[in-house]
Symmetry: D3
Amino acid sequence: MATPRAVDYENASVEVRNVFDDIKSTRNSDDVNNFWKYLANDPATLRRTWESVKEVMGPGELPRVVKEMIYVAVSVTNNCGYCIASHSAAAASVGMTDKMFGELMAIVGMANETNRLANGYRVPIDPLFQ
Amino acid sequence: MATPRAVDYENASVEVRNVFDDIKSTRNSDDVNNFWKYLANDPATLRRTWESVKEVMGPGELPRVVKEMIYVAVSVTNNCGYCIASHSAAAASVGMTDKMFGELMAIVGMANETNRLANGYRVPIDPLFQ
Amino acid sequence: MATPRAVDYENASVEVRNVFDDIKSTRNSDDVNNFWKYLANDPATLRRTWESVKEVMGPGELPRVVKEMIYVAVSVTNNCGYCIASHSAAAASVGMTDKMFGELMAIVGMANETNRLANGYRVPIDPLFQ
Amino acid sequence: MATPRAVDYENASVEVRNVFDDIKSTRNSDDVNNFWKYLANDPATLRRTWESVKEVMGPGELPRVVKEMIYVAVSVTNNCGYCIASHSAAAASVGMTDKMFGELMAIVGMANETNRLANGYRVPIDPLFQ
Amino acid sequence: MATPRAVDYENASVEVRNVFDDIKSTRNSDDVNNFWKYLANDPATLRRTWESVKEVMGPGELPRVVKEMIYVAVSVTNNCGYCIASHSAAAASVGMTDKMFGELMAIVGMANETNRLANGYRVPIDPLFQ
Amino acid sequence: MATPRAVDYENASVEVRNVFDDIKSTRNSDDVNNFWKYLANDPATLRRTWESVKEVMGPGELPRVVKEMIYVAVSVTNNCGYCIASHSAAAASVGMTDKMFGELMAIVGMANETNRLANGYRVPIDPLFQ
């Protein structure tokens, strides 16, 4: 096995190109970002992941900007540098302002803190919440 | 040190009672949930945590239901049982429907998956996102 | 494979009994706690883990109570219920007071919060710290 | 929203400058480190976080060096690169020696290992620890 | 929103029943386990997750028992109690012995330890590994 | 305390050289990788960690390539950049192909997703799995 490298459109199989084309047309963009170029090393995972992301992040009950902010909240908690950068950009592109980002970070920080306080004090769940 | 136990209002110091009273009046409820009763073992942490949560979760750019859903997203990622139960209830009380919860879980699951795909494939950040 | 069960002294091999005996004499106690009884399902891991824990938690530069508090800090961050309970008890048995536990929890909570703020704001490391 | 950038003193609002000034005088230093310059993008979070850190890390039951080592333990467990660098430096500046750092790392490693052994073997909590 | 409850076959929609039927026939079992009954609260996530799991855990390069052991390794690292129990059972049903489980736990523990040692000592990646 | 630096063979104590020599002869290589050079700052941890890794990753029930893939699964879940790079290389050197790596990543991603779905839906463990 070689270290993973980006698969570019010109070197991609038809199966991979089809996914790249769908990403570009869904997102109305000229290119796909590195995440997809690396996943293309495994065409089955590329296709499955894209189909799932397209379904989950598509129109639904929650506005797109809220969906992207939830994605950022998880990525920051897990400290995934790539995901923080790409989904912060995605959130901004659909309307997240600096003030909204600030509130998002404040909540993510606070939740990470109180999660540990609840763990450490071994707080039993109130019957009301069950 | 003894195993942490809940501090009830009747056994609480004035300092703790003041925080409990503020939680109850802010939330318009008869009692405080276990989290605060356990934090009351350390009155300074009780006060500081409550003041911070009140500020962070109070009125701002993001609707309260979005704030609570972000809290749930972090708590699910960290697997904090208490926090999942209490903030799911809080989110529901301010308008999160079953469908919204379903979308929230789908995004949290997906983000946790793609965070690891990005890690494992060592995807470099696109210049566009920096 | 069966679900893991505790291995009790009377049913244990000589290899396992030797480790149990060393734990009991090192800790001056009548019995070993469940963690060791479950690890005894794999005698090599039981022995290796005990030898490592004995070395790491034995006398050194840091007082025993500080060592146990660091153990609690990690266990709370990871939300390991067993480890929080056992190492909180161990810390208390070597001098951690309620006030010290309160400070420990406050720091663990704070660090978990600021870790995420640093992630989310993508703060570059100051040259001074490198 | 733009990618987060450092807010420098000369471009900062009075509210931010006041926090920066308090950090500098509390720490007796000429400048604030990048963490605070980035948090300054959200003055409310800057102020709240600084007030909390100042309270939590200030004089109390635990020596400052122990407090900073606990901070490092959490940051290493969470793999926050910025926080590992800044709090290792802070711990060293208040007395952590190479030997103490070595013991700290050994405990953090060990705790992360035994946390997972306890999870995987599904060890029930001993009645003694409850 | 109500607290999540299991959706049983008799109360399920046709869409959910179709997924349940496919799970049962794929696994040659009489019933589906709780995970699927809870996901059924969101039929789209039930279907998408099942299709993905079926594809990922189906025949491929890696033997089924290795796939299930990898699932256990992740679940133990994340401390997901449900997932540890269900995937340990699945691994055992396809051939994981007690000795194999013991080795799996030993590796998972060790990897969690050395991950933190690498973080804490800030070890740079050898050119050979890039 | 100074920032951790690599300890090279020529500057190492006899105790450290003995461990380095054993690593090189066990692995049949000319040099040790950075992980060991950094651990050498604490000779006791260097020796203990090497002895443990040698035992855990040595011949047993599971093939070496499976052991290394489990190591990668944990490292990707924890996002340890160094460990992902070094253990991906190690797995490749003992037979992991690109296809096997692709399946590994797919499972690690999926497990991280379903772990959170199980957490968020608060799925109770089936009696069968206990």
